[in-house]
Symmetry: C2
Subunit: 189 residues, 2 copies
């Protein structure tokens, strides 16, 4: 926090998360975020369409990576193993973010019903896209939907554990561990 | 549709779902719903706080039933078996609704982003309540969250299959079958 960062986008994200945490999302304006980052409002809107975009801007790319991971899984893989390849791709992308910022993002979203509903809708979109990628691999219903949604549960639980500091390991490790946890729960009753 | 029903609440629900389907949720007013049901607007508001309540009014009771099912599961049951007891309770309640109305409800919600986000938030609330019930049974994290959320996936997929007519059996059977599907997907890779 406060240390020099070369990129405007990163500075704006950091400033926005700090303000959302301190004042609440609804009470923060784009102008305040820009000022906190030492940038102009015009620069803010060059990077983000609105203040919600700061929280959800990466979701289209994330969905693309997850789907590519599923589609690129070995053909012999079963549906949940293929979803695991998608989650590995997600972990590679999300694991590059600073853990404290990811944690702040989580807390801000959890505190605001509208943001929480938006986050859940994004996860549902990922699940639908993953189910479609599984259909392309020849997986039928309800297997595809069950594997896709169970996978998004693993993603959510893993990112929450990782960002909350409840688990010191890399996100990729936490993700694998959460997937193993799901398999154990489903297998062991 | 249109056949005589003794209860005002049921007539209002049926009228509301018909109008939401025909005109869209946003274009329908409480007055129109009451008129369609042959009742007064005052009667509408005696049963529902607003037109969204028609779609989500049963959710508190449903959550209560699910949690009671989990809490009442045999002590020897593992986490996902306990969740299965909660889902059986949900199936007993939801299975009493007419399948065509359940289908209409699903289509109306799917067509409206705000309603869809609300529905996902309800499912997330059920999952959080179920995870808490599992904690009370001594289940730790992340097992409790994984089992709870996987269970809500099973619920969603089963209700969708049942109401869409993709499966002729009772909701309770479709629910058991979806749970078996999840176990197969998670166990078989």
């Amino acid at each position: 926090m406060g240390r020099w960062q070369p990129d405007s986008r990163g500075r704006l994200q950091e400033a926005a998360l700090a303000l959302y945490s301190e004042r609440g999302f609804d009470q923060t304006t784009a102008a305040q975020i820009a000022a906190r980052a030492g940038l102009t409002e015009r620069t803010f809107f060059r990077h983000f369409s609105d203040k919600r975009e700061v929280l959800f801007g990466g979701s289209a790319l994330l969905q693309e990576r997850i789907v590519a991971g599923v589609a690129g899984a070995p053909l012999a893989d079963g549906p949940l193993d293929a979803v695991g390849c998608g989650l590995a791709a997600a972990a590679a992308m999300l694991g590059e973010f600073r853990r404290d910022l990811s944690r702040q993002r989580h807390v801000v979203i959890a505190a605001n019903p509208e943001l929480r509903e938006r986050e859940l809708a994004k996860l549902a979109d990922y699940a639908a896209a993953v189910a479609e990628a599984l259909h392309q691999r020849g997986v039928g219903e309800p297997q595809a939907s069950l594997a896709a949604e169970a996978g998004m549960t693993v993603l959510r639980v893993a990112v929450e554990r990782w960002s909350s500091g409840g688990d010191d390991r890399d996100l990729a490790d936490v993700m694998r561990d959460s997937m193993a946890g799901l398999r154990a729960v489903a297998g062991g009753g």
